[in-house]
Symmetry: C2
Subunit: 355 residues, 2 copies
Amino acid sequence: MNSRRDKKRANLRDVARAANVSVATVSRVLNSPAIVQQDTRLRVETAITELGFHPSAAARAINSGRSKIFGALIPSLDNDTFALTIEAIERRLGQFGFSLVVATTAEVPEQEVQRAKELLDIGVEGLFLPGISHEAALYDLLARRRVPAIAISYFDPGFSYPTIGYDNRKAARLALDHLFELGHQRIAVVHGPKIHNDRTRERIAGASEHRKDVALTFLETELSVAGGATVVAQAMAEKWSFDAYLCVSDVLAFGVLFELQRYGVAVPDVVSVIGIHDLPSSQMTTPRLSTVHLPAEEMGQHAAEALAQWVEDDVVPDAVCFECKLVARETTARKTAVTNSKSASTAPKHPTKDA
Amino acid sequence: MNSRRDKKRANLRDVARAANVSVATVSRVLNSPAIVQQDTRLRVETAITELGFHPSAAARAINSGRSKIFGALIPSLDNDTFALTIEAIERRLGQFGFSLVVATTAEVPEQEVQRAKELLDIGVEGLFLPGISHEAALYDLLARRRVPAIAISYFDPGFSYPTIGYDNRKAARLALDHLFELGHQRIAVVHGPKIHNDRTRERIAGASEHRKDVALTFLETELSVAGGATVVAQAMAEKWSFDAYLCVSDVLAFGVLFELQRYGVAVPDVVSVIGIHDLPSSQMTTPRLSTVHLPAEEMGQHAAEALAQWVEDDVVPDAVCFECKLVARETTARKTAVTNSKSASTAPKHPTKDA
DNA sequence: GATCCCAATGTAACTAGTTTCACAACTGAT
DNA sequence: ATCAGTTGTGAAACTAGTTACATTGGGATC
């Protein structure tokens, strides 16, 4: 068990010696076996298995200048917002022989830059970034080190880096239109912190493109189930009255739904609720959440392919906008004529069914 | 923009030449600046910034034999089961200068082995594995390549690799005891696929350690919110009658809760529901989910430290069992005397309040 | 039978760092 | 003045691969 006992792993030279060939031949067996004569190849392959030889990725990387690793900077894995996309990216990347290092940033800009530095230091060949608004320092870094990067979950064809995502503004507009068509006029727009999150800002902008006769109240909260709940609790306490909650993320909608339920406010009879994202569990809530579907996995897959192609074949990807689409389920309904402006605000502490 | 135009990144030799010193000196400035005379160091540092030099991780790795990268094999990022833990690991690892590559395996054993191979091929220094039951091929691989590995979310002090987790069996027992103490006797134990998942098996075992007078029905389903919902839908269709649902994972409990609600079965008045995990959103559901808290983040942090220490200082970590603890919230209540054996099964399609 | 070509292999020089060892220059004690 | 000890630096040999170029030997062509 002592330190000298662990005979170090075999390397190319060891294999060459064992097979009685040159290192070049071993390398050929590894990389272009076809050009090596069969019996030589067999001899080398035997030596390889006998010595338990495995080529060192570091040594390969040093020659090729290729680490075959990408990095992803994401705010968090906590809520499902990025989980599906990251998993899709990871899976697709695997098929291209790339690995993914995920760094979480808690949406703190300085931390983002810091983590980006670390990723570049370990030699990632490219980066996935959420959205396009990041510290100038981050972009400086990318430019100086000439690192390809793709902004995901966002679309802006004019941006200096390719964006592969969806039209967040439109997603919110779809949700708003839906509520509008159902006759809702006093709408609470529930969103996470605007600062450092351009997806949120775009969605708010989309929700703001309202027609007359629609009164919007913007409520900022933490981007979590708890955050959504908080908003409703506050609305209840303040006796605010809304026809509908437009939650800029399904995660928030869950919290809104739970808390409305806690106050006994019937959804969609008394208030409608709509989210944006269409997470897997969104169709399982009771009532099933109406939302705007974002093709998060498709986007992840495509972004993975695009970045892989970029570094492999030097083709800078085009910006891609995936369509998002309204999924009207059970949490949105036509505004009932009988519902007056107080029905949503004067709910007792326990369930009622007065619609 | 042509290929020859991209003057390649500066290396140690370039810096040495620019600063008029030897490569050894540059290396010293990088790694032990204290032993280099101030003016020499300044000269080198100037050259470094002027040339925009950044040491190559690959070249470092080749010398040190250290990649500073760990790998984690996890079934999925989809449901929150691993997300928090992975994030905790990643965060803690960062403080030790390690990065984490996550590989998802969809709980398919062959894929697990395959992904493990890939991780080892990129040179990870250690691995985090969920639980201890894995293909023999995986353990062969780890043994042959002498890769440290820690099994997480599981505890078995006698296992050949360190386990850092919690007592899944006890977690389930805590849940069962709680239900028992509340007078529930006909209990549905809802769980994900047993195959390839020892956490699930342990929890089932824990839930099976029942006293007389308790009738347990084990229901296997997909490990997801939808899976939990399916179970309830089936129970309703078959007119099965339960006092309580013991969900071996909060994710399942969410689905159970949603679906019971859809059928108008009052929780906890008619049936109690309890989960295991205590995800952040568990305390936000309505009613708030009773569950057994698993210290997933703490565990992740500790596992990260342990693996880092293992490869740094060659200290094989001890197995650690974190305490799990019952969190009785609102989905569990004493069985009401009036509830007869049909109350849960003959529920109409829409809400009733007959408790 | 000499020339030519080509496939198969070897030699050695790369990739970009770290590290050992040698050596010069200076300090301080004898 | 001499010797020992420290300090700072450089030359070169490592780490483990890839690859450009050279070499060898056999078969086909002239």
